[in-house]
Symmetry: C2
Subunit: 420 residues, 2 copies
């Protein structure tokens, strides 16, 4: 048994990711209100049903006229046009504009037929004569000025938003403009989370010798939400194989995806590792060539994924970002499930020698338009305090034997804003 535990077949991170995402199947689409769709993933592409803008729109308060009527403006002489209409926003013209006439028009109103330009209110004068109003214009006007033409932004049939897109506030504006008040998105996965470990106290419990509070579960709860899932918190269990087996089975039967933390190392109480190994046919991997989190374990049972993360906070965090987050996003058909990889300049020396690829928690700074990544002072897998100050992971390949400040590195951008 012990030998078997030690002899795990290690996969590269990308191999392990490829194995797990094969089982990250899309959930059912559902129709939700436009007001609730920010942060969800579009289940179908959105095609423009009509031109946008839907009409030639005045972009100024002023007068809709025929530009050619002003072609003789010279030497400070006014051209006077008869005002025949007044078009507030939301109204339509009552008459067409013909040569010698003008319509008062508001910003955003539909330009009347016949008019080909709008002259700004500020450069006009008016006079009354025999109950009629005349608009005086001093300067020659160009056609098409201050008019936003129909369809400038989008033509009918044009792709507005592709399927799989994460819906933003700007997307909502476009959907609203096209009258799309309900949106088809994929259901959020219900993600069961529990921790294993006889050492675990609930957060509200006082400390006891040798015990620690369960900090991974609340962290995972927040991470699941951030990834777009609905966390279902199943607490923590003591190190007991039978208990773990029934809890995992119940969770897999009931929820879309199960994440555990703890119990995947090589010790005698590594119950999640044992649990997955005992039905080895469905194990996807139980060793990954990464630090932290080399013991990250995944299995599929009845079509559902079980991801057993390390109990070390740093390893749990990194394992979540590399494996759980893409799964949660793919279950919603996200077109970009993985975190972005960028290059950056290493901001400080990094001297740890690694046998596996290391994912070093780090903080980005932008200096004069360039990205610098500063590794956290302590990046043991067991260390928790650096998670909160990290906005990226520096990828340090195993062949590196220390990296100097100024080296080009690849970083994985973590979700959220860049710290510096």
């Amino acid at each position: 048994m012990k030998d078997h535990k030690f002899q795990r077949k290690a996969l590269q991170v990308k191999e392990a990711q490829a194995k797990i995402i094969k089982y990250a199947n899309p959930l059912e689409p559902q129709e939700i209100s436009l007001n609730d769709c920010c942060g969800r993933y579009l289940a179908e592409e959105v095609i423009a049903p009509h031109p946008f803008p839907a009409f030639n729109r005045s972009s100024m308060d002023g007068y809709a006229i025929i530009a050619a009527d002003t072609k003789h403006c010279v030497n400070g002489q006014f051209v006077w046009l008869e005002m025949v209409d007044n078009i507030p926003c939301g109204a339509v013209a009552s008459v067409d504009i013909t040569s010698g006439t003008a319509a008062r028009i508001m910003t955003g109103a539909q330009v009347p037929s016949g008019a080909d330009t709008v002259v700004m209110l500020e450069v006009t004068e008016t006079r009354e004569e025999e109950g009629k109003t005349y608009v005086g214009i001093l300067k020659k006007q160009e056609a098409k000025s201050n008019i936003t033409p129909m369809g400038l932004e989008l033509s009918p049939g044009e792709l507005v938003l592709p399927a799989g897109r994460l819906i933003s506030a700007g997307d909502i504006a476009v959907l609203a403009a096209f009258g799309i008040h309900t949106v088809k998105v994929y259901r959020r996965p219900k993600v069961a989370v529990f921790a294993t470990g006889t050492e675990l106290l609930e957060v509200h419990e006082p400390l006891q010798p040798g015990k620690i509070r369960n900090s991974n579960s609340p962290m995972l709860e927040a991470l699941v939400k951030e990834a777009g899932g609905e966390p279902v918190m199943l607490g923590s269990i003591v190190d007991d194989l039978e208990l773990a087996r029934s809890k995992v089975q119940m969770a897999l039967d009931t929820y879309d995806f199960v994440i555990t933390t703890g119990g995947v190392s090589v010790g005698d109480y590594d119950i999640m590792g044992d649990l997955v190994r005992e039905q080895s046919g469905d194990m996807l991997f139980n060793k990954v060539t990464m630090r932290p989190g080399s013991v990250t374990t995944a299995a599929v049972r009845g079509g559902k994924l079980l991801l057993a993360l390390s109990g070390n906070p740093g390893a749990c965090f990194v394992g979540f970002q590399l494996f759980a987050r893409p799964v949660i996003r793919l279950m919603q058909c996200a077109s970009q499930p993985f975190l972005p990889e960028w290059s950056a300049t290493l901001g400080a020396d990094y001297n740890r020698v690694n046998d596996f690829t290391r994912f070093v928690r780090a903080r980005l700074e932008i200096r004069d338009g360039s990205l610098y990544a500063f590794p956290a002072a302590i990046d043991e897998s067991s260390v928790m305090v650096t998670i909160k100050d990290s906005d990226c992971l520096i990828v340090v390949p195993p062949e590196e034997r220390g990296l100097s400040a100024g080296a080009k590195v690849t970083i994985i951008k973590l979700p959220g804003e860049i710290c510096g």
Copy 2:
């Protein structure tokens, strides 16, 4: 009246921001569950109540021993130590370790008194003799190996999290580890949003000539949520000064902050502009030297802020990000209320000539560790479709007369992930 409208005193963006944030007063703190606090702002600093880790912790499965007991390991000869204890995670030692003895210990367990190092399980052997178990070690061990010392991450009294910090998943892990199961945060502001404009249709209504659907309200709803506020959607009203006055008054009486869109231009129906001007004592500004959004207007009444944004979608969006977002965040005492400003390289020529500072919607790309900002193809203030594809605003000062690709520019990073 008309002349008065034209002669607005224009403020620089930073001046206008300084004016409005003076009235962005912090709301009451409230105590919420740790599970609900991600994305909220800490109302008080968090100080470590105990060392973390709270005990010397084994970072390996193996044996806790006294390193000096192995100093005579040479020539492949085992040193044999008597195993006197077995310490799973969460347990405490039953005896101290003395010279010649060892305790089996799990990853994460408390190192027993007397032991000063942990030797990995994988490099040990065991043998049974007369009912006792002996642990064989081949190599000399260094003291302090595989032990995470008490207080490595944090000492008692150390600052863990400062007040005003946006709480992340990593912060939640630290709070949980210290047993902080309720967290003091500032209440989210209730932000009333309504639109003005006779041209506005509800999102579900069919198009009508000259009318447009109200897309700004749903966009603002999403933006308020993203900034940490609770939007209260008050619909849209026709262009009627009386109606607007009573709606604004009701909203100011009832909610923490009021945002309107539309009615701030120079036309005859610019009711929000009129409304603010008629009680000019409380007006903060009604012209800002920016494009889009130069007509952005703010007032304070009874201690509550009213922000009247342009009805043009692009101007509404930019005005929100520059003025409303900092207010919403400051009402929660955010330590960093403003969007970050970075420098970047302009990715494509930008040729618009500006009288005011222009905030050009743009998309960032990271190429070989450097930031490139690509201006949107059309950035009229009235244009909506480019909002969704922008992750930053390029700040183009008024003196610029066209910028060439490769120029250094300042950008304002918009909330959310970088597109490319």
